[in-house]
Symmetry: C2
Subunit: 320 residues, 2 copies
Amino acid sequence: MLKSLEEEFDGILQGRKPDNLYQPISYILMQPGKRLRPQLVHFVVDMFDGDPKQAQLVAMAFEMLHNFTLIHDDIMDMAPLRRGKETVYKKWNSNIAILSGDALAIMALQQLLKLDCDPNIIVKIADIFACTSLEICEGQQYDLDFETRQDVTIDEYINMIRLKTAVMFAGCLKAGGTLVSADEKSLQALYDFGIHLGIAFQLADDVLDVYAETTVFGKTIGGDIKDNKKTYLYLKALENASDAQKMQLQQLFSEPTTDFESKYNTVRALFDQLQVRQETEEQVVRYSQLALQDLENVQVAPEKKENLRTLAMKLINRDK
Amino acid sequence: MLKSLEEEFDGILQGRKPDNLYQPISYILMQPGKRLRPQLVHFVVDMFDGDPKQAQLVAMAFEMLHNFTLIHDDIMDMAPLRRGKETVYKKWNSNIAILSGDALAIMALQQLLKLDCDPNIIVKIADIFACTSLEICEGQQYDLDFETRQDVTIDEYINMIRLKTAVMFAGCLKAGGTLVSADEKSLQALYDFGIHLGIAFQLADDVLDVYAETTVFGKTIGGDIKDNKKTYLYLKALENASDAQKMQLQQLFSEPTTDFESKYNTVRALFDQLQVRQETEEQVVRYSQLALQDLENVQVAPEKKENLRTLAMKLINRDK
């Protein structure tokens, strides 16, 4: 019987000092999140009848890596809330958030180094882990760069969310597949599935940022609008806009937000008029379909793919 | 013929995007530093007649790890200068410094994963790398915690600099020894040598922070005094102080620095009166001697140890 992730995290954090380094790590790891990335790892390993105990270490590593990126991103975005709770930088301070994020990323790597398998496989998984992490940093930097750029294209945006969000999904899946020594064709198919699913997931998230119910969403509604993030909705709105609307949008997204309420309402009204919600949701469907096609190319019996298929369907039809 | 570290770093950074992520990395890696950690790796590998090309990857990894810690520490300490040049956070901004630091740490790991040797050795070296990194985070957190604590003991201080500075030296030496499959006794001796040398190095640095010539030192003189760092000199001064001097010192080190010039002069005068420079320098000698004893236990011919011995002597008699 596998321990829960919370039990595992509690186990590796026991007795560690100093408190200001490890309490923020415990705080963020113990929050009930979607645990999406661990699920991806376990589903792949299960698909190939691999050892769930070994899978758990890989699952922990990627969940920890994910939370490391959240701690650091929240400093950069000055985000006060995450999963309905104060962010680490807000609850402690940004120095502690920098350092506990660093420590968490290192502890993530340490889980992989505990794997009890062929060391060639450990090195391969560590390599996937490192590539994934580096691409996430690149994605986050593009995201920051875009905040002050007025000429971001939709292609650039899709590439940014591929790096910032989708490669982590792809990395979890490929790492799981590598653990069970899956064939090259399946590894590639799993990776592609992760990329397409991740893009669909992020586009759905863009919609939720504007249109979700606050109480369900956990994050601040309209955070992207407040931070002048050029999301898919914004870029699509620019494409569909009249000259006057375009000027208005660009004006709104080029200055620091002073009156958030008013800005949010104006932008949301413009998005409604320009029907960008529907167009974004169409893209969510398109990328999800690509993901499901990728899944066809994984070399296992169709019934083995049920978990990943169900998860994919759930992710793109979520309300938080 | 081995390429220089600068050529190696230039090679791995070629063509990477986005610029705001990789230019700060190039900026800090290309600065002419002491390159102490790479030397430690190469000297050990050379001592056991290992392959310098493989050693170079380990040397790069630890030099990159070191620079990652500098980028993040400089944000936390709000340090404007490093090696006589603007720090990354000052030249760009703290978000870019957080993110490029993260990316640099990951690229450091990637160098280890390129090693062309028994994968068991790669996993062992990655493990040393991870443990070292985590202990450095712990040391940095203690350092931050000590800024606002009035009851730091000398033992706690030595433990902090062991974590923050010495384990990196020890990690370089042990990783080098692991690469060449050195025996356990030698690995332990190399590790201990690194710990003792690292503590001696940091104590010498504490002295330099107060007494070095600005033009030679590269960092801001009196930075520790400005930041209320409880260095060995400060803690020794408290021990030697009269009640009145103790109160004055504690007062000076418990408030944010407003008039730096005056504070620096007062503190330096107190340090002079209480003869803490000499006492700290005696500790530098003591830890250096322990290091040289450790070196005796490395199982190679004495002439093979000349490089490490010379380096150790140079480090503790430096002026920057």
